[in-house]
C-alpha cells in the first residue's frame, strides 16, 4: 500500500511541475476594504479559467494571467469586483462592503439554500473544519459545545454511539435522536445494539450508531434545524430536529486540486476517570473464612505436604480482606499453577505493584485521506479516499474504516444539470468492549476485584500458557475453572467480537430549469448496508449468559446479520419570482416516497462449543436454538408544498404543508396532514443606527405528525424453543389496530442581533414543544396478562431557551480574537401518560434502580430506594446497627438525568498564519447513578473505604479495636445517632448495610477543556517554492482536562450508549486525553 501511494504522489508532482511551466505574466497586489484595511483570504480568480488564489494575511496576492483577461475578486460580505488585466503587473483592489453584507446562505430542509435572514426559525451552522481540526473517532462527538439546543452525550466505548438530542426528549419510547440528512437525503442513524445493552445487562456490545460512518473530511458544513418549523417538510421523522450535512464539492481553485490530510492521535488515561484504589487491604469479604469462620484466609493444603497453608481467598472478588503485610507469606493464585514460577510458593502479602490501570494500552488513531477536486464552469468533480485506523484502550481492540466517495455534477446545457454522489464505507470492528454489568472487565476493576492481584503477572500467566489462569479460580487445584472472573487477557484475546459493515450511500439527481424562476429536481437516493456481528466465547471461560437463549455457557459463537436500507424518491418543483420590485415569492411543491427495509437474523450455538475455539454454528454442543428473524418493511408517501413571501428584504412569511400516508398506521388513519408558519422581520431595515448592524425578530408555529413503529397494530404469538412439543406464548404487549398519528406542536420566538459591524452579536430563541397522542406500549397491571398495551396516550412538554453569542474583541491586521458561546436550557415535563397510569418505566437496572417517565416529573427520572428522613430533614439511623434506615419502597425519585443547562465557550486567537483555539464544554446539573460506587465501595476497592476514623484508628478495625464510623443522622427517637457501624466487613460503605440507591446518585455536572488546536498555515511565499497551494500543520488535543466533576472514579459523560436510557454508569472505560498531529497539504 505504501509503495502504491508514493507512486501516485510522484505522478501528481509531475503534473504540478508541468502546470507551472505554462508561461504567463505574474500579477500581484493587495486587496483591501474601502478604508484601506487589507482583506486576508479574499479570492482572486482569472475569469473563465480554473486558476485562482487567495490573499495572504497582508491582503497580498499574486497570480498568473495574460493581458486582457479579467480578474474576479471576491470576499464574503463585500461586493465582488472585476478588473481587466492591463500592462501593469501590480493591481491593487479595494472592495466595497456589500449592502447585503449579511447575506448568509444556509441550507434548509430538502437541501434548499436560503438567505438566513429570511428564515423564521432557528438554525445553527457548524463549518466542516470545526469537525475535522480536532479529530475524533466519531465526528458526532465533535458537535458537543458548538451549537445551542443540542445535547451530545458521548461514551468511551470504542466505536461506540453518541446520543444526540435536540431540544429535549419528546417521545416516550420512540427514538429521540436527531435525523441526519446528507445533501437533502435522510440517512440511517439507528444503532443495532440489543435491548439488553441499553439496560446494562452484561455480555453485550455497543456497535455504534450509523451516522458515524460519515467521513467528516467530506463535510463542507453542517446546519442544525432545531425546531419543528424548520424541519416540517421532512415530515414525521423530523420531529426531533435535523442535522443537515452538505458535502464538499469540487471547487474552482488554483493548483491541481489535490488535498492530502494526515493525522495521528494518541491517548492517555485521565486518571480521574478511573478507580483510585485503597492500598492497605487485599482479597476477601471480611473475617469469614477458615475452620472457625473467623479468619481472613482459606486454610488448605495447597503444597501437598500434608500441612495446612494460609491461602488467599481466591474465590472472592472483593478487597475487604486482611491488611497487607510484606513480611507475611501467603499462597496466591499463581501458586496453584504448575507453570508458574511461584508454583507452591508463598509470596509476600502486598498491594499489587501493577494495578488495573496497567491493563490499558495506548490508543492510537491514524486518519489519512486524499482528495482530488476540480470545477469548471460546466461542472465539478470530487474524489476522496479516507482511511481510519484506531486501536483502543483495551488490548486487542480496533476499528478500521475505508471510506470512498465521489461527488460530481455536470451541466449538459443551460437547462439540464445532473449530479450524483456515491459513498462506500467499509467498517471493521474487533474487540469492542463489553458494556454493562456482567462480563465487563472495567466493571470487574471498578466493582469486583482484589487489590493484591498484579496485572502484569496475569498477563504473563495468559501469554506463557495460552490458558485461562485467573486470579479468581473456583478451587485451588491446578487448572481450576474460574468462579466469577476470567483472566482479563484471556477475555480480551479469546472472547472478542468482530463486526463488519459495508455501506453504500448515494444519490442521482437531475435538475431542469424551465426558466429563470422555475425548476424541477428529480432524485433517487439510497442508503443501504449489510452488517455482521460475531460474538465468541472460548471454552474454559466463566459461564455467562450467551447467545439466543441467554443460557449460561462457558463457550459459544453467535452471529447477527443485518440488511438495512432506506430509499427515497423525490420530485420537487422550485420557483422563485419577484412579483414586484419589493415583493418576492418562493415556493416548493413536491413528492417524496420513502421505503425502509430492516432485516436481521441472529443465530447462536447453545450449551457451548464441542471443538474448543472453533467458532462455527455447526460446532454447537446442544441443538442450535431457533434463530431470531426480523423482516420489516415500512414506507411513507408524502406530498408537500411551501410558499415564502419576502417584502423588501425586510419581512418574510413562510408557510408549509405536508400530507403523509404511512404504512404503519391502520387504513383510515394512515393519512395525516400538518402545517407550519414562520415569519421573520428584519427591523434594522427601519431603524438606522450605526452601532446596530443587523436585527431580526422571528416567530413560528408548527405541527408535525408521526406514525407508529413497524408492526404495532396486530397481535402475533411468541414461538418458544420446543420443550419436546411445539410451544408458544401470548406476546407481552397487546397491539392496537386503531392507532392514529402522534402529533408534536411547537412554538418558537427568536431574536438575532449584530452590533458594531458584526463585531458582536447574539441569537436568542425561546421554544415550547408539546407532543401529544404518543404511540407507545403503556405499562399496565400484569394482572391483565400483559405488561403493556399499545395506545395513543401521553403528553410531554419541552420548553427552553437557547442563546448563542459571538464577538471579536480584537480584530487587527495581524491579530484576531473571536469568542463563541452557546448556552442551552431545556425544561422537560411529562404531563400525562394514560388514564390512571402515573409512571412508565423506561428501563430497569442492576442495583434496583429504574429510569422512568413519571407524570409531573421530567422525562428520565431515576427511581430507587432513598434514605428516610426525620421531620427536621435529618437522615434516620438505626440505633442498634448504626446503619441508615432506607425506604422499603423503590419508587422514590432520587435523580433527574436531564441537565439544568449546557454551555460551550470557544475562543480562537489568530496571529498572522498561526491560530490557537480552545473549547470549554460545561454541563450543569443532571444526575447519574453509579453502579461502580454501589458495589465498589461495598467491596472495599476504593481509597474512601480505608481511612483513619474519628478515634484515630483504621476504620476497618473491629469495633472492639476502635474501628468503624458513625453515620451522621438521628435515631428514630429523634436523638443524634451515636451508634458506630462496623466497617470490618464488606458493605459498610456500599450497597449492603442500610445505604439506599440514593447514596449512589451523583451530580453529573462537568467542566471540560474539550478541544485545543494550534494550527499553522505555511505562508504562500514558502509554499510556492515547494509547489504547494496550501499547507497547514495542527497540534490538537481533546478532553485534555476535566476541570471539574462530581462523579468519583468515572467520567459523568460516559453512559452506556445512545438512546433514551441515560444517567446510569457501570464499568465504563476511562476517558482519554487525546493529543493529535495533523498535516494538510494542497497541491
Amino acid at each position: 500500500m505504501k509503495t502504491k501511494f508514493s507512486g501516485i504522489l510522484t505522478l501528481l508532482l509531475a503534473f504540478v511541475v508541468q502546470i507551472t511551466f505554462a508561461q504567463e505574466k505574474t500579477i500581484s497586489g493587495t486587496v483591501s476594504d474601502q478604508s484601506g484595511l487589507p482583506l486576508p483570504g479574499a479570492t482572486v480568480l482569472v475569469k473563465g479559467t480554473s486558476s485562482g488564489t487567495s490573499t495572504d494575511f497582508d491582503g497580498k496576492y499574486s497570480i498568473s494571467a495574460s493581458q486582457g483577461s479579467t480578474l474576479v475578486v471576491s470576499f464574503v460580505g463585500y461586493t465582488s469586483k472585476e478588473v481587466v488585466v492591463g500592462t501593469s503587473s501590480t493591481i491593487n483592489i479595494a472592495l466595497q462592503e456589500s449592502a447585503e453584507a449579511l447575506e448568509e446562505v444556509v441550507v434548509t430542509a430538502l437541501g434548499i439554500s436560503r438567505d438566513k435572514k429570511s428564515l423564521g426559525y432557528a438554525t445553527q451552522e457548524i463549518e466542516g473544519s470545526e469537525l475535522t481540526t480536532v479529530k475524533n473517532g466519531n465526528f458526532l462527538n465533535s458537535i458537543s459545545g458548538k451549537a445551542s439546543g443540542v445535547q451530545i452525550k458521548r461514551n468511551n466505548n470504542i466505536g461506540g454511539s453518541t446520543n444526540i438530542v435536540i431540544r429535549g426528549n419528546a417521545s416516550m419510547t420512540g427514538s429521540n435522536q436527531a435525523l441526519f440528512v446528507i445533501d437533502g437525503v435522510p440517512i440511517n442513524n439507528i444503532n443495532t445494539n440489543s435491548a439488553g445493552q441499553a439496560q446494562a445487562t452484561g455480555g453485550f456490545y455497543d456497535y455504534g450508531n450509523a451516522a458515524s460512518d460519515i467521513d467528516p473530511e467530506n463535510i463542507e458544513s453542517m446546519n442544525i434545524l432545531k425546531g419543528a418549523a424548520a424541519s416540517a417538510l421532512y415530515g414525521a421523522r423530523a420531529a426531533n430536529g435535523v442535522i443537515m450535512i452538505t458535502t464538499k464539492k469540487g471547487k474552482k481553485a488554483k493548483g491541481f486540486g489535490v488535498t492530502i490530510n494526515s493525522g495521528a492521535t494518541i491517548g492517555s488515561i485521565d486518571k480521574s476517570t478511573f478507580a483510585k484504589y485503597q492500598d492497605q487491604y487485599g482479597a476477601g469479604y471480611g473475617p469469614y473464612y477458615g475452620p472457625n469462620e473467623d479468619d481472613y484466609w482459606y486454610i488448605e493444603d495447597v503444597t501437598g505436604d500434608g500441612n495446612d497453608d494460609q491461602v488467599v481467598v481466591y474465590t472472592e472478588d472483593a478487597s475487604y480482606g486482611a491488611a497487607f503485610d510484606p513480611n507475611l507469606l501467603v499462597y496466591q493464585w499463581d501458586s496453584f499453577d504448575p507453570d508458574s514460577p511461584n508454583y507452591r510458593t508463598a509470596t509476600p502479602w502486598v498491594n499489587a505493584k501493577n494495578g488495573p490501570i496497567t491493563f490499558f494500552e495506548t490508543p492510537l488513531t491514524l486518519t489519512n485521506s486524499i482528495t482530488l477536486d476540480k470545477a469548471t464552469d460546466d461542472g465539478s468533480f470530487r474524489l476522496n479516499y479516507s482511511k481510519f485506523d484506531q486501536t483502543g484502550l483495551l488490548p486487542n481492540s480496533s476499528i478500521r474504516k475505508d471510506n470512498f466517495s465521489i461527488n460530481g455534477n455536470y451541466k449538459f446545457n443551460d437547462k439540464l444539470t445532473a449530479s450524483g454522489y456515491a459513498n462506500y464505507i467499509k467498517t471493521n470492528g474487533k474487540g469492542r468492549n463489553s458494556t454493562g454489568y456482567n462480563d465487563n472487565i472495567v466493571g470487574m476493576f471498578k466493582q469486583w476485584f482484589q487489590t493484591n492481584v498484579d496485572i502484569k503477572q496475569q498477563k504473563e500467566a495468559y501469554f506463557s500458557t495460552g490458558r485461562n489462569i485467573t486470579w479468581n479460580p473456583a478451587t485451588s487445584e491446578a487448572g481450576s475453572a474460574p468462579i466469577f472472573w476470567d483472566n482479563p487477557y484471556w477475555t480480551r484475546y479469546e472472547n472478542y467480537e468482530t463486526d463488519a459493515r459495508n455501506r453504500f450511500v448515494g444519490n442521482a439527481t437531475l435538475n431542469y430549469e424551465f426558466n429563470d424562476w422555475l425548476n424541477v429536481t428529480g432524485r433517487v437516493a439510497t442508503d443501504t448496508y449489510t452488517e455482521i456481528q460475531e460474538e465468541r466465547r472460548a471454552n474454559g471461560s466463566v459461564p455467562g449468559d450467551f447467545g439466543i437463549t441467554r443460557g449460561s455457557a462457558d463457550s459459544g459463537y453467535g452471529r447477527k446479520n443485518f440488511d438495512v436500507s432506506e430509499t427515497n424518491y423525490d420530485l420537487m418543483f422550485n420557483f422563485d419570482k419577484d412579483l414586484s420590485e419589493k415583493l418576492n415569492l418562493k415556493g416548493i411543491a413536491g413528492v417524496n416516497i420513502r421505503r425502509n427495509v430492516f432485516k436481521s437474523i441472529y443465530v447462536s450455538t447453545a450449551g457451548g462449543l464441542s471443538v474448543p475455539k472453533l467458532y462455527s454454528l455447526q460446532n454447537s454442543k446442544d441443538p442450535i436454538p431457533l434463530p431470531e428473524e426480523t423482516d420489516q418493511i415500512s414506507g411513507v408517501d408524502g406530498i408537500y408544498a411551501s410558499a415564502s413571501f419576502g417584502y423588501d428584504n425586510m419581512l418574510f412569511l413562510d408557510a408549509t404543508i405536508r400530507r403523509d400516508r404511512s404504512s404503519t398506521l391502520p387504513k383510515g388513519n394512515s393519512v395525516f396532514i400538518y402545517p407550519s408558519v414562520a415569519s421573520s422581520f428584519v427591523f434594522t431595515k427601519l431603524v438606522n443606527q450605526d452601532w446596530l448592524t443587523f436585527g431580526k425578530f422571528r416567530i413560528n408555529y408548527a405541527e408535525v405528525g408521526n406514525d407508529a413503529p413497524f408492526d404495532f397494530l396486530y397481535d402475533t404469538y411468541v414461538v418458544n424453543i420446543p420443550p419436546g412439543a411445539p410451544s408458544t406464548s401470548v406476546s407481552n404487549t397487546k397491539k392496537n389496530a386503531n392507532l392514529k398519528p402522534e402529533r408534536t406542536k411547537s412554538f418558537e420566538i427568536g431574536l438575532d442581533m449584530k452590533f458594531i459591524k458584526n463585531r458582536i452579536g447574539f441569537d436568542f430563541a425561546y421554544y415550547k414543544n408539546t407532543s401529544v397522542d404518543q404511540i407507545f406500549g403503556v405499562p399496565i397491571s400484569r394482572g391483565t396478562g400483559y405488561t403493556s398495551k399499545v395506545l395513543n396516550a401521553g403528553e410531554i412538554e419541552n420548553y427552553g431557551v437557547e442563546l448563542s453569542l459571538f464577538g471579536s474583541p480584537i480584530k487587527t491586521t495581524d491579530f484576531n480574537w473571536n469568542v463563541n458561546v452557546n448556552w442551552t436550557k431545556n425544561e422537560n415535563t411529562v404531563l400525562s401518560l394514560a388514564e390512571g397510569i402515573e409512571n412508565l418505566q423506561l428501563g430497569s437496572f442492576q442495583g434496583g434502580v429504574t429510569i422512568n417517565a413519571r407524570v409531573g416529573q421530567a422525562y428520565g427520572v431515576i427511581q430507587g430506594t432513598d434514605f428516610t428522613y426525620s421531620d427536621n430533614g435529618e437522615k434516620i439511623v438505626d440505633a442498634t446497627s448504626g446503619e441508615y434506615i432506607k425506604t422499603s419502597t423503590s419508587d422514590n425519585v432520587i435523580g433527574d438525568t436531564n441537565p439544568d443547562w449546557l454551555m460551550g465557550i470557544s475562543n480562537t486567537f489568530s496571529y498572522k498564519n498561526l491560530s490557537i483555539s480552545f473549547l470549554i464544554d460545561i454541563q450543569q446539573g443532571g444526575s447519574i447513578f453509579s453502579l461502580d460506587q454501589y458495589y465498589g465501595q461495598a467491596t472495599g476497592l476504593y481509597a474512601e473505604t480505608a481511612f483513619i476514623n474519628d478515634l484515630g484508628n483504621p476504620v476497618r478495625n473491629s469495633l472492639a479495636d476502635g474501628g468503624g464510623f458513625i453515620n451522621p443522622g438521628v435515631n428514630p427517637n429523634g436523638t443524634a445517632n451515636t451508634t458506630r457501624i462496623r466497617a470490618d466487613r464488606f458493605g459498610a460503605f456500599g450497597y449492603r448495610r442500610g445505604l439506599p440507591n440514593a447514596a449512589f446518585v451523583y451530580d453529573a455536572s462537568y467542566v471540560k477543556l474539550r478541544e485545543l488546536a494550534i494550527t499553522y498555515n505555511l505562508p504562500e511565499k514558502f509554499l510556492s517554492k515547494i509547489s504547494l497551494v496550501g499547507a497547514s500543520i495542527s497540534l490538537t488535543g481533546s478532553n485534555l482536562w476535566i476541570i471539574s466533576k462530581n462523579l468519583p472514579h468515572a467520567d459523568p459523560e460516559s453512559g452506556l450508549s445512545s438512546g433514551n436510557l441515560q444517567g446510569y454508569s457501570t464499568g465504563s472505560l476511562p476517558t482519554t486525553r487525546d493529543l493529535g498531529l495533523n498535516v494538510k497539504l494542497q497541491f
Binding site: 459461564p543 420443550p723 396478562g785
Partner: protein, 481 residues
C-alpha cells in the same frame, strides 16, 4: 427533456402504492397458533417458576431454610425488594401462565378438529386447563393474599381490582370440583403436548383431587366446614396413591429446556448455595437416611449447613447432592409424599379420610424414602425421635401434631420450596432460625409487586388495607395461628 420528467413522474407514481398499509405485516411471527402449543408453553412456565432456584425468581428454598447463600446473602436475609422477586412471581403467573392458559382454552374451544375423535378430546383439554388455572391462582392467593381475580386477564380493564383472598380461594375449589367432574377418563387429552402426564386423564384427575385436598387443608384453620367438605370429597374422588402418580415435568438435556436448577447450579459456573444449618442440623439429629440423597458431605465426611443469613464459605459446607445437578431431573409440581402428609393432617383434624394420622405420617415418610431411594425406612420410623405416637406424647407444642407432622413433612418437601414455605406458615413448624442480618421478620407473604404500587395504585392501596398492610410479616387469611 420533458419526456425525462414525465418518465421520472411515472416511476414515482408507479412506486406509490395504493395499499401501502399492507406492508405492515409481521411475516416472521405467527398470527395463529394451535391452542395446544400455548398449553405446553404455559405448563413449562408454571413448572419452571415452582422449581426454580434463581434468586430473582424463587427464594422459597432459602426461606424454608433448606439452602443458604454463600457470599451474597440478601435473599437468605429475607430481602425481597433488592431483586424484584414478587414482581417476577406475579408477572410469570398472570402473564406467562394464566394468560397463555386462557388463550389456549379459547383457541381450543373455537377449533374444529379434523376428526370426530380429536374433537371429542376438547372437554378433557378444557378441564385440564382449568385445573392448571386453579393451581396458578392458588399459588397467587397463597403468596400474596388478595389478588386480581374477577377483573383479571381483561385487556380492556388495564387496572384490575383485587378480590378477597378467601372468596377467591373458595371459588377456586368450586371450579376445581367442576373440572374434576368434567374429566372423562375414557378419553385422552393433550397427548405429547402435555409434558407432565402425556395427556393421561386418570392421572390428571388424581392430580386435581390432590390439589383439592391441599387447598382444603389450607382453609381448615379459617373455614373448617369448607375445608372438611373439600378434603373428604377430594379423597372420595381419588388422590395420589403412589410415587408413580407424581406430577413431574419432563425436562430435556439442552438449554433452555433443562431443569432450571441445572442452569442455576451447573451452567452458571457459580457456587452461590450451600446446605442450610436448619435442615442439616435436624437431619443430623435424626441420623436421617435421606442425607446423602439431599446433600454432599463436607471433606471430613460430615454434613454441615451454613448459618442462616451469614456468609458461608462454599468449601466449608455441604452442597446439594449431584442428582439436583442433572439437566433432566424432573420438575415436581406435586408428589405422593406431600399427599400422605396432607392426609395425616386431615386425619389429625378429624376429617374422614381413611386411616389415622400416624398411618399417613408413616406412609408420607415412606413415599419420600422411596422417591429418593433412601434405605432403612422401617428402622427410621421406629426411631424415638421419628415415631409419631412417641413424639405426639412428648411434644411441648400447643398442637403437638402440627410440630410432628410439620417437621417430617418439611423434610419430605426438600427441593419443593413454595409448598414447604406454605406448610411452614400453616403449621408453624418446623421453627425457622432468625437470619443474622434479617431485613424483616419471617416472610408470611410476598409483598405486592413494585409495579403494582406504581401502576395500579388505587387498587393496591385498597388491597393492602384489606389484608392488613403490604408488609412481609402480614399473616394471610388462612394463616390464623
Amino acid at each position: 427533456m420533458k419526456k425525462l420528467i414525465i418518465l421520472i413522474l411515472a416511476v414515482i407514481v408507479a412506486s406509490c402504492s395504493d395499499n401501502i398499509e399492507d406492508m405492515n405485516v409481521n411475516t416472521k411471527d405467527p398470527a395463529k397458533v394451535p391452542g395446544e402449543s400455548l398449553f405446553t408453553g404455559a405448563q413449562k412456565n408454571l413448572v419452571d417458576l415452582v422449581v426454580d432456584l434463581n434468586v430473582n425468581i424463587n427464594n422459597t428454598k432459602l426461606w424454608s431454610q433448606y439452602l443458604q447463600e454463600t457470599t451474597y446473602t440478601d435473599e437468605s436475609n429475607y430481602d425481597q425488594t433488592t431483586r424484584p422477586i414478587p414482581d417476577n412471581h406475579w408477572s410469570i403467573l398472570y402473564k406467562d401462565v394464566l394468560k397463555d392458559l386462557d388463550e389456549s382454552g379459547k383457541i381450543i374451544a373455537a377449533t374444529t378438529y379434523t376428526t370426530i375423535e380429536l374433537n371429542a378430546l376438547k372437554p378433557n383439554k378444557a378441564a385440564i386447563i382449568e385445573i392448571l388455572n386453579v393451581y396458578a391462582y392458588s399459588l397467587l392467593v397463597e403468596t400474596f393474599g388478595d389478588v386480581p381475580y374477577t377483573e383479571a386477564l381483561d385487556i380492556d380493564n388495564l387496572l384490575p381490582k383485587y378480590d378477597d383472598g378467601l372468596t377467591v380461594y373458595k371459588d377456586l375449589i368450586t371450579r376445581l370440583t367442576t373440572a374434576i367432574n368434567l374429566l372423562d377418563t375414557s378419553e385422552g387429552s393433550f397427548g405429547d403436548a402435555d409434558k407432565i402426564y402425556g395427556g393421561d386423564v386418570t392421572l390428571w384427575k388424581k392430580f386435581a383431587a390432590s390439589l383439592k385436598l391441599r387447598m382444603g387443608i389450607l382453609l381448615s384453620d379459617v373455614d373448617n366446614a369448607t375445608a372438611k367438605q373439600a378434603v373428604e370429597s377430594a379423597v372420595t374422588s381419588g388422590v395420589f396413591t403412589s410415587n408413580s402418580d407424581n406430577a413431574g415435568f419432563t425436562y430435556l438435556s439442552a438449554d433452555p429446556n433443562t431443569n432450571p436448577i441445572y442452569d442455576n447450579l451447573v451452567l452458571s459456573g457459580r457456587f452461590d448455595f450451600v446446605a442450610a444449618e436448619t435442615i442439616v442440623d435436624m437431619m443430623n439429629l435424626l441420623g436421617d437416611y435421606r442425607r446423602p440423597f439431599y446433600f454432599l458431605p463436607t471433606s471430613d465426611g460430615t454434613y454441615k449447613g451454613g448459618t442462616i443469613g451469614s456468609s458461608s464459605s462454599y468449601s466449608t459446607f455441604s452442597h446439594v447432592a449431584p442428582i439436583f445437578e442433572t439437566p433432566t431431573f424432573p420438575g415436581i409440581l406435586f408428589d405422593y409424599a406431600e399427599v400422605e402428609f396432607l392426609l395425616a393432617e386431615a386425619a389429625a383434624r378429624n376429617f374422614v379420610v381413611g386411616g389415622t394420622a400416624k398411618e399417613h405420617y408413616d406412609l408420607g415418610i415412606k413415599a419420600s424414602f422411596d422417591f429418593w431411594g433412601a434405605p432403612n425406612y422401617s428402622a427410621y420410623i421406629a426411631q424415638l425421635n421419628v415415631d409419631y405416637d412417641i413424639l405426639i406424647a412428648t411434644s411441648t407444642a400447643i398442637t403437638p401434631w402440627k410440630e410432628v407432622i410439620g417437621n417430617q413433612k418439611w423434610l419430605a418437601l426438600y427441593n419443593r420450596g413454595l409448598e414447604a414455605w406454605t406448610s411452614i406458615r400453616l403449621l408453624d413448624y418446623p421453627l425457622m432460625a432468625t437470619p443474622t442480618d434479617a431485613v424483616s421478620g419471617f416472610p408470611n407473604r410476598y409483598t405486592y409487586p413494585i409495579v403494582e404500587q406504581t401502576l395500579n395504585g388505587t387498587n393496591w392501596t385498597t388491597a393492602s388495607n384489606a389484608i392488613g398492610g403490604d408488609v412481609p410479616e402480614t399473616k394471610l387469611f388462612w394463616d390464623k395461628f
